[in-house]
Symmetry: C2
Subunit: 496 residues, 2 copies
Amino acid sequence: MRVFLPRLRHYSTSTRFRLPPTIHEVLQTTPVGQPVSLTAWVKSIRKQKRIAFGVLSDGSSAAGLQAVFHDDLRERVNEISNGTSLHVTGKIVESLGAGQSRELHVDDVQIIGACDPELYPIQKKAMNAEYLRDYTHLRARTDAIAAMARLRGRLMQGMNQYFADQSFTYTHTPVLTSGDAEGGGEAFRLAPISQDPTLPERDREFFSHPAYLTVSHQLHLEALCSALNRVYTLSPCFRAERGVTRRHLAEFWMLEAEWGVPPVPDPHKQTAALCDFVEGLVRGVVGDSALLGSEDMDVLWRHRENDSVSVADREKRRDALVDAVTREAPWPHMTYSDAIRQLLQANRDWEFPVRWGNALQSEHEKWLCEELVGGPVFVTDYPANLKPFYMRANLPVEGESELTMGCFDLLVPHVGELAGGSVREERLELLKAAMASKGMDADGEQYAWYCALREFGGAPHVGFGMGFERLVGWVGGVDNVRECIPMPRWAGRMLM
Amino acid sequence: MRVFLPRLRHYSTSTRFRLPPTIHEVLQTTPVGQPVSLTAWVKSIRKQKRIAFGVLSDGSSAAGLQAVFHDDLRERVNEISNGTSLHVTGKIVESLGAGQSRELHVDDVQIIGACDPELYPIQKKAMNAEYLRDYTHLRARTDAIAAMARLRGRLMQGMNQYFADQSFTYTHTPVLTSGDAEGGGEAFRLAPISQDPTLPERDREFFSHPAYLTVSHQLHLEALCSALNRVYTLSPCFRAERGVTRRHLAEFWMLEAEWGVPPVPDPHKQTAALCDFVEGLVRGVVGDSALLGSEDMDVLWRHRENDSVSVADREKRRDALVDAVTREAPWPHMTYSDAIRQLLQANRDWEFPVRWGNALQSEHEKWLCEELVGGPVFVTDYPANLKPFYMRANLPVEGESELTMGCFDLLVPHVGELAGGSVREERLELLKAAMASKGMDADGEQYAWYCALREFGGAPHVGFGMGFERLVGWVGGVDNVRECIPMPRWAGRMLM
C-alpha cells in the first residue's frame, strides 16, 4: 500500500525529455524569422562603430553561428570578448555576408560567464600544439581539438554500428589485472597499501597480490569470446613506455575484438578473412560520406599543425585517405617474407638492417605503405620469434624452413601500424609449448586461467586490436597522437 | 609513381564484409529446409539410444538452438559433452518438441574443442554466485552471466542513442589523474618507478608527480563541457574502498554527463530539469520494449541467485520495474527536508538516527523508495555539509536557515542510489569559498585548472553520474554488483 504524499512534487516529464536546440540544430531546422534562444561562448568578436559581429560556439558544429549585435546592445557588447559565455535571444535571418547562409540577429544578450581578454590563453592568433598542451583544460576551445573530439565520437558511433551489424556484444574487460604483461616493465603497477616489509604480501596489497594496469584487453576478451563468441571493447590501455614519440601515449584507447571462426585446414585463409573484417570495419566507418564530408574533417585537414608539410602535400594525403576508404579495389595483402624481399630490392640505405627475422622498423613500414603501395597494406605471416605466445603458427611452407604466424599488421600512410591481429592458438599443448619457449609459466596464477579456456571447449578464434588515437590521427591528418585525445599522458607529463 | 607488385595478393572484399550468421540470426531468418553451418558450444546434451538432443550456444541469444543428432553420428556424439565446441552443418526443421519452434537437424558434426566433463567447472546443476566467482574466466558460459553481458551491451547502445539524439559528444577523459580525490584515501595510486628516497620526486614518478586512478570523470568532463557544451562518457572508475558490500566494486563503470544550461533565477528549476533529463534517459533506455521483452530479461529475472527472495516477490519487483519505466506518471521529486520529515513520521526504529544534516543511510533510502514511494524517487536539495565543493547552493529559503544544494540523488528499489548529480558552481568566488570551507587549496596544482574553467567564460552547467553496474542490477534484478560486470574486482580479490 502506498502512503499518501502531500508534499511530493511531480514535475511534468515527457517520455522523451529534450534539451533546447543547439546551434547545429538551429542552423539545420529553425526557419528564418523564428525567434530562438541559445547558450554559447564567443569564438571571436569584431566590434564596429554601430554594429558588432560575433561568432558563437556551443561545440555542436565546427563553424559556429554568426551573431549580429546592433547599437542598442552596445553597453553589453563592450563587455564581450573572446571566450565570454552568453545567453542570446534573437531571430534567424538570411545572411548578407560571405561564409554563411544564415545568421542570428540578436535582440537581447546576457553575459553568463565573463572572460578577461588579457589573461585568456586561447588567443585568436595561431597557437602551436605544444603551447596548447600546457592548457589541456582549455584547448578544446580551439577549432582543431574540438573537431578531433567530435571526430572521436563519430568514429565510436560508426564502430559500434559496424559491430552491432555483425552481432557482436560490446563488453567491458578490466583495467586492473593480475598480469604484468610478461614482466617487460611496460605495465604500470598499483602502489601497495602498505610498505611494511614485515607484513605478508597479501596484507601489503589491496587485492592480496600485485595489480597492474592492463596493456591490452585481449586475453580477457578471449575469455568472454569462449562464451559469447563475438565480443569487442573500446577501453583504455596503459603502457609505461619511457620513450617519447609522436605515436605513443602512456594512456590510450584501444578497440579490441575477438570472435570464433569455423575451422579451416589452411590458417592463411583465417588470416585473410580476419584482414577482410578489419578492412570492412575501417572502410565502413571511415568511408561514410557524412564523416568524410564533415566540417570537422575540413577543419582538421586545413589545420597547419605540422608546418613541415606543404599545403599541397596535405591535400594529396587527404585525397589518398579518401581513395583508400572509398575505392572498389581491396587493400593489398603481402606476407612478411614478400615485404622483406621488396625492402631488399628497394636498394635504399636503411638505418636498420633488412633481414628475414628482424622486426620491421618504422622506416620500413613507412616505405611499404607510403611508397611501395601508396595506401593501406596488410602485412601478414610474421616470423614466430617476432610475435607473442598466443598466436597460431602457420603450417610449414614448402621451401621455407622458418616458422611463421597467422597474423597481420595493418600499415597506413603517415601512421604506420594502425591495427594488428592474429589467429589465436586454441590447442592447449601448442599454446603451452609456445609459452615454454618464451620462458613463461603456463601453470602459474597469471596464465593458468588463460590455458583453462583451451581445456574446456577452446575453439578456433581470431582477434585484433586497433589504436584508437592512431585511427583518429590517420583520418584527421593529425601528426601527433597527443592531439588525438583530449587529455594526453606521456612519460614525465600529466596535466589535470 | 607506384611500383609494380607481382607478389601482392588481392583478396576479394565486399564493401561490407559479413561474418556467417549466428544462431540468433539463423532462428530469425533461415527458412525451414535450408542448409546451415554453425560454430557453437554445447550448453547441454541428452543422449538416448538412437538419437541425441543438444542445446547449442554461440552467445547470440539466451535460449540457444536445439540440435538433433541421429544414429549415424553416434561415434562423434559419444565424444560430445557439456562445454564441447562444435562445427555443425545441417538443416533447420520445424520442431516437434516443446519449448522451441525450430531446431537443427544435424547432418555432420566436427568437434573443434573438447571438454572433459569430469573437470569442467560449469556443471548443469545450479551453481551459486560465490562458486562462480572462483571461475570468472568461465562463468560467462552460464545463462545468467551471459544474459547480463548482453544486457550491458544493450544498455550501452540505448544510452549512446539517447545522448546522440540530444546532441551530446561521447568523449574520453583520462583514468590517470593528478587528483587524489581530496586525499580521502579512496583513490588508488600508481607505484613510483623508483623507491630511492635520495631522488627528487620528479625522478621517482613516471609522470614527474604522483598519479592516481580517477574516482570520477566529472571534473575533467567539465573542462570539455566548457568548450563542447554537451559531453558524456562511459568510463571505468576506481575506488580503494576496504568495505565489502553488495553495492561496491573497486573497479566499476560510470556514465557521466555534463552540459551547459540557460541561466534561470531559481536554481530549483535547474535541478528539476536535470532530474527530468535523467528520468528521460533511464525511461528511454530501459523502457524500450525490445529490452523489457527480451529473453535475457527473462533469464535474469527467473534466475534464483538470491534464494532469500521468493518467486512471487521477484515477480512483484519486476512488475514494479516495468511500471516505473513505462507508466505515464513521472517519478516523484522530494527535497531532502521532506525526506527527513517523512522518515521521522515513519515511526521506525532506525539504526542510524534521522536528523536534518545527517546523511541518508541505506536503510533510509530503501524505505523512501521501496516503502514510501514504491518506485524511483528523486531526493533533491541536500544540506551543503553533506555534498562536495563543486555543487551550486540554492537560494536561501524563507523559514529555513540552513544552506542546501541544487542537487539530486535518484533512489531506486533494491539498489538505493542509482545516480546523483547537481547544478555546478560556475561562479569563481563562490567556488573558491566552498573549497576553502572544506580545507581545499584552490590555487594548488590539483585544482587550479578547475578554477580556471570559471575564469574564462565559465557558465551555468549541470551534470550527473550513474553507476553502470547498479543500473544493470536494477534492470536485471541482480542483487550483487559482482554479477553485474564480467570480471569484478573488490578489496582482497582480483582474479585474472
